[in-house]
């Protein structure tokens, strides 16, 4: 089965208890959070709401509606892609 790699940082890796894993590809970016919610109940509310997401090191707009014009059309995560879920870290 074709997969992409998803990296979990900070609070997201605490919640999932892992640094990364492989998930089935292709996957439209708008479905990403529901796939994660199914695997990790409660993650949307507790972690994902404030996260930013990158695909192959580039920011993607997961909400699709903040008026940002950098992304044209919907991003579909492809096999072999690297997705990162990055929560804000405030300590230092």
């Amino acid at each position: 089965m074709s997969t992409f790699t998803i990296l979990y940082f900070a609070a997201c890796s605490s919640y999932t208890s892992r640094l990364y894993e492989a998930l089935p590809a292709p996957l439209p970016i708008s479905k990403l959070y529901s796939v994660l919610e199914e695997k990790y109940a409660g993650i949307t509310e507790k972690v994902l709401g404030s996260c930013l997401v990158t695909v192959n090191l580039e920011y993607v707009d997961i909400t699709g509606g903040d008026g940002h014009d950098m992304i044209q059309g919907e991003v579909v995560i492809q096999p072999g892609d690297e997705v990162a879920i990055i929560p804000p870290v405030s300590s230092g």
């Binding site: 900070a10 404030s50 940002h68 950098m70 990055i86 804000p88 870290v89 300590s91 230092g92």
Partner: protein
């Protein structure tokens, strides 16, 4: 206009090794000497950042922090020393920095930055480094930098990871902290280094990278009018995008440079049409950063459900169950004899509460799962719950009581009571057993 700075003979010698780097040269060195840099937070990020900025010869270096040095800081906060525990961090750091480089003007701001003090503090400086440790102050610093037109270098670190951003650069054009993180993290997910832990060199590397970005930024302007830390795409007038450097010590590769967005449309700081912040609102307290970031839900139990550590020590020889709900790694550091370890997450999961909102499939009520094996069969056995400081233990007491109350068949009674050990193991070490480790 003050006269442009010049270098003394000692300064030529001191800065020679960096002045012969082509991207610095004498013009770059003079720009550094002409600069005033503020470091907010004299901790794990601020110590190495300040050390290198002092070494590099910035003209004025301000340090803002209201804390005192503690022993638990010393594994990472390299400016502070064992002999200076108890001193203010600004004083300790100034001592350390003066020893590195006496040619610099050091300014101490011995207080925590608040909306009332932010603008007057930041106003004296050309560049700000956010080395703080809480979301509320991070939004405050970013807003103040946007309002005052100061570039901001922001980094953070927790456990084995770090993040680095160069924000509001150039001022008014680059993204701010709110553009990148419009929504603050849920307060329950925010961990301090004291709670989540931090590897010294991980936060150190982030602080050192901040100093590098500061040097690049301060010496860039005159050289070729290109600002560092961001992709400036003047040729085709595309928006300025901000990069985030992500460090994760245990991932391979461990460094990632992410291309983020630029200023966010509708950002309440950067978008001039949508702007909701102003210096007036800042100074008169109308911007409530603590409320914006929220506070943790307090799941406290009543005083009659808690027991003092001294009283618990007296009943320790009687039959009881002691549950330690700290993470496994902390249990491994030290624990009380006879206790069992069920980390808080596992504890909650092992005691599922019924969800009345879920429709029952085929209207057949499923039998509730049996209680976990650690729950005493003898209902007269009292249960005591302990953690490090007595917060999670209260959550656990509350949850266990709710769980037991939800059981229909009467196996939900604990005649001996369920008790929170007040103040946790830290209090135990203070009041009962001085030999018990505090970590």
């Amino acid at each position: 206009m003050p006269p442009p700075p010049t270098l003394s003979k000692d300064e030529y010698k001191r800065y020679g090794r960096q002045m012969i780097v082509p991207s610095i040269g004498l013009p770059g060195q003079l720009q550094l000497k002409d600069a005033a840099v503020l470091i907010v937070g004299a901790g794990g990020l601020g110590c190495p950042a300040a050390a290198y900025l002092a070494g590099t010869g910035v003209g004025i270096l301000g340090i803002c922090d209201g804390d005192v040095v503690e022993t638990s800081n010393l594994h990472r906060q390299i400016a502070h020393t064992t002999s200076r525990v108890g001193q203010s961090k600004t004083q300790s750091m100034t001592e350390y920095l003066t020893d590195i480089n006496p040619h610099i003007t050091y300014r101490s701001h011995t207080y925590h930055l608040t909306p009332g003090t932010a603008a007057s503090t930041l106003g004296h400086y050309n560049l700000v480094l956010d080395c703080t440790d809480h979301p509320a102050v991070r939004y405050l610093i970013s807003d103040t930098c946007v309002l005052l037109g100061k570039p901001l270098i922001s980094a953070s670190a927790l456990r084995t990871e770090g993040q680095l951003l160069v924000l509001n650069n150039p001022p008014g054009k680059g993204a701010c902290y709110r553009c990148i993180w419009p929504k603050p993290p849920p307060p329950e997910s925010v961990l301090s280094c004291g709670e989540g832990g931090i590897l010294g060199p991980v936060v150190g590397v982030m602080g050192v990278l901040m100093a590098t970005e500061a040097i690049k930024l301060l010496t860039a302007q005159a050289k070729d009018n290109k600002l560092s830390g961001e992709v400036v795409e003047e040729e085709n007038k595309r928006p300025i995008r901000t990069n985030m450097l992500l460090y994760s010590a245990y991932l391979n590769p461990s460094f990632r440079d992410l291309k983020l967005r630029g200023q966010k449309k509708g950002c309440i700081a950067c978008d001039l049409e949508k702007r909701e912040i102003s210096l007036d609102k800042l100074s008169d307290g109308r911007l409530d950063y603590a409320a914006f970031c929220g506070t943790r839900k307090e799941d406290r139990v009543g005083e009659d459900e808690r027991i003092e550590v001294g009283r618990y020590a007296e009943v320790r020889n009687q039959e009881h169950l002691l549950i330690d709900v700290r993470p496994e790694v902390e249990w491994g550091i030290c624990n009380l004899a006879g206790a069992i370890n069920i980390p808080i997450g596992q504890f909650m999961q092992s005691l599922p509460l019924p969800t009345p909102t879920e429709p029952l499939i085929g209207a057949v009520s499923l039998p509730s799962p049996p209680p976990p094996s650690w729950l005493p069969e003898n209902h007269k056995t009292p249960i005591y719950i302990v953690c490090k400081r007595g917060n999670d233990s209260q959550v656990a007491v509350r949850h266990l009581k709710t769980y037991l109350a939800s059981r229909q068949n009467g196996d939900g009674k604990v005649g001996g009571g369920i008790w929170d050990i007040k103040g946790g193991l830290v209090k135990w070490a203070w009041d009962v057993d001085a030999s018990f480790p505090e970590y």
